[in-house]
């Protein structure tokens, strides 16, 4: 998108005074690398997403094949200038198509979408992620690295290859990772707490915040651990999506407020909202 177009278009408001957003649009792929055999890092150029994208938000990517209509939502992993990156695994025909694209190709997107992590609080953030839950947590690490009043420890769990460690190292001094052969992220959390004075921790629990994303069993274990230590926790969920922007009511998750839409009322929920103990 031309910046000139954006400046004239997206300061406009709808009849209720809300800012209009750009709909589906075509952007250029400016970066494309294989992190492992089946994990891809793809970078697009899109000024709007780069300016608006917050940690925990995602972008819909669309296949060029008209037979594959559904959106492929990917969490933003990093933003540099007007470049927005995603990291994803090849799991089906849609993601295989994106793997086979090249720099200079064009791709349709919609976003940024979804409710972001709240990273406005001061204190210590424990960023706990597993597998393909790492990308949005990586973005949270990037955002938090720009603040002086927040300290960050990252704990990443991998199946095998530690594909994101080199990215997160730029944003954080205390990065820890583990793979399935070594253990899991709960081991990392337990190690971390042993290194800290638990009594002191309890008195300062309100200054500690967990952000987590990954497979549901992992997040449930993190939520249970956080509950035990009385630490506030935000969790980013994944669900099959039909639209990604809140209109089709397909991607629901049970919450204490009833079924809520993961795409617009999430993907980030608090432990309390989900009723996870």
């Amino acid at each position: 998108m031309q910046s000139e177009t954006m400046n004239t278009t997206f300061i406009k408001t709808n009849p209720e005074g809300k800012n209009y957003r750009p709909s589906r649009r075509t952007v250029e792929i400016v970066g494309h690398e294989l992190l492992t055999q089946d994990i891809v890092r793809l970078t697009i150029s899109d000024e709007y997403t780069a300016q608006q994208g917050q940690a925990g938000q995602f972008v819909n990517l669309y296949s060029k094949n008209p037979l594959q209509m559904s959106p492929r939502p990917f969490g933003i992993s990093e933003i540099h200038g007007d470049k927005v990156s995603f990291i994803f695994a090849v799991v089906g025909r849609g993601t295989a198509e994106f793997r086979d694209m090249s720099v200079g190709d064009r791709i349709d997107i919609l976003g940024p979408l979804g409710k972001p992590f709240d990273v406005s609080k001061t204190g210590r953030y424990l960023l706990v992620a597993g597998g393909l839950g790492i990308p949005p947590i990586l973005h949270a690490a990037q955002k938090l690295s720009q603040r002086d009043d927040a300290q960050v420890t990252t704990m990443f769990g991998y199946r095998n290859e530690h594909f994101a460690d080199s990215y997160v190292d730029q944003y954080c001094d205390d990065t820890r990772s583990i793979d399935n052969a070594q253990g899991n992220v709960i081991d990392l959390l337990n190690t971390w707490i042993q290194e800290n004075d638990v009594k002191d921790l309890k008195s300062r629990a309100e200054d500690i915040h967990i952000l987590t994303c990954g497979p549901e069993p992992m997040m449930k274990a993190v939520a249970a651990w956080a509950c035990e230590h009385n630490i506030d926790t935000q969790l980013s969920l994944e669900e099959r999506m039909g639209c990604g922007y809140g209109t089709c009511v397909v991607c629901i998750t049970p919450t204490i407020h009833g079924n809520q839409k993961v795409c617009i009322e999430g993907p980030v929920f608090t432990r309390e909202e989900l009723g996870w103990k």
Binding site: P15, P22, T26, P66, M69, E239, V249, V250, I252, N259
Partner: protein
């Protein structure tokens, strides 16, 4: 880039059961959510906005997963999750009307009593039209009326005295012959039919051998069903030259909408296309506007409440 946020005004309108639409293009029920969609375009520009089905009380809908991809379409089983008619009357409807939108309220229910309850509430409002959803394949008794012309005629007669608003009945394609169903609606005092709702279908995860949808089956929509929808609109139009028809099913371009209009529809609603591009209804309305510029005979027929088949009658 197509800019959906411009203030579009269309010159080729249509009239459906006496209600003026600014364009023959509207949104289809279940694909328009006010908060989600109104940040992409002004709904008042369209011919109409048909809101998601509202039931007497809030419904939680079906468990997830609720969607599965299928070639040129999707299979969905939402189960009409909605916050209930009272919330709709306090929030969505007044906001849409304040913007100047022509609004169709889609009415959901498990029984004739449910439909009657919601129709009575909507009758007292400034909504423009009511669409009675007798064809949802994903809720208990969702399609029982749409499969039984006798029961459907009885429902139409029961609801008719409750409101002076134009009442549209949304028909199911999951019947062996749709014409007798339409006939029941036409002859019992309704004002229009809309078609088609989704086809019953399912997808199976071949890695597990199990259904992808938690509800096992769902409704198939998208470009894959467009030819079947055109065929059903055409059949009903051949049987009833004058009865208002709103067509929907896989419209993703102005050309697709034009096909429906040549089959005899008075108006067209966009559904699945909006799920993959929020601004699709406005884009399609713009495309159809250009196509109608070149087709004055069709445009003239629509503007006076006629259709392509009865334009000279």
């Amino acid at each position: 880039m197509f800019d959906a946020t411009q203030e579009y005004t269309f010159t080729h309108g249509t009239v459906v059961a006496g209600v003026q639409w600014k364009s023959p293009i509207g949104t289809a029920a279940g694909t328009y959510n006010l908060d989600a969609c109104s940040v992409y375009y002004n709904p008042a520009a369209l011919g109409s906005v048909c809101t998601k089905g509202v039931s007497p009380v809030p419904w939680e809908g079906n468990p997830a997963p609720r969607t599965a991809e299928t070639p040129a379409g999707t299979v969905n089983s939402v189960g009409l999750q909605n916050p209930g008619v009272d919330h709709y009357l306090e929030d969505d409807l007044p906001r849409l009307k304040a913007m100047g939108t022509t609004v169709i309220s889609n009415v959901a229910g498990h029984s004739a009593e449910d439909f009657a309850y919601v129709v009575e509430k909507l009758a007292k409002t400034n909504v423009d039209m009511l669409e009675i959803n007798v064809s949802c394949p994903n809720v208990k008794a969702g399609t029982s009326f749409a499969k039984d012309p006798v029961a459907l005629a009885s429902l139409v007669r029961q609801l008719r005295p409750l409101t002076d608003k134009p009442m549209i009945f949304k028909l199911s394609p999951n019947v062996s012959d749709i014409v007798p169903v339409a006939q029941a609606v036409v002859e019992s005092g309704a004002d229009a039919v809309s078609l088609i709702n989704t086809f019953v279908g399912m997808r199976i995860d071949t890695r597990t051998g199990k259904p992808i949808l938690a509800n096992v089956t769902g409704g198939v929509s998208g470009p894959a069903i467009h030819p079947m929808a055109v065929g059903m609109v055409y059949k009903i139009r051949q049987a009833f030259h004058d009865f208002p028809i709103i067509a929907m099913g896989g419209t993703s371009s102005g050309e697709d909408a034009l096909e429906f209009l040549y089959a005899g529809a008075n108006a067209v609603e966009v559904g699945s296309a909006a799920l993959v591009d929020p601004a699709a209804p406005v884009r399609i309305a713009c495309e159809l506007e250009s196509l109608l510029d070149e087709r004055p005979e069709l445009s003239e027929a629509l503007s006076v409440g006629k259709n392509w088949i009865n334009r000279n009658e």
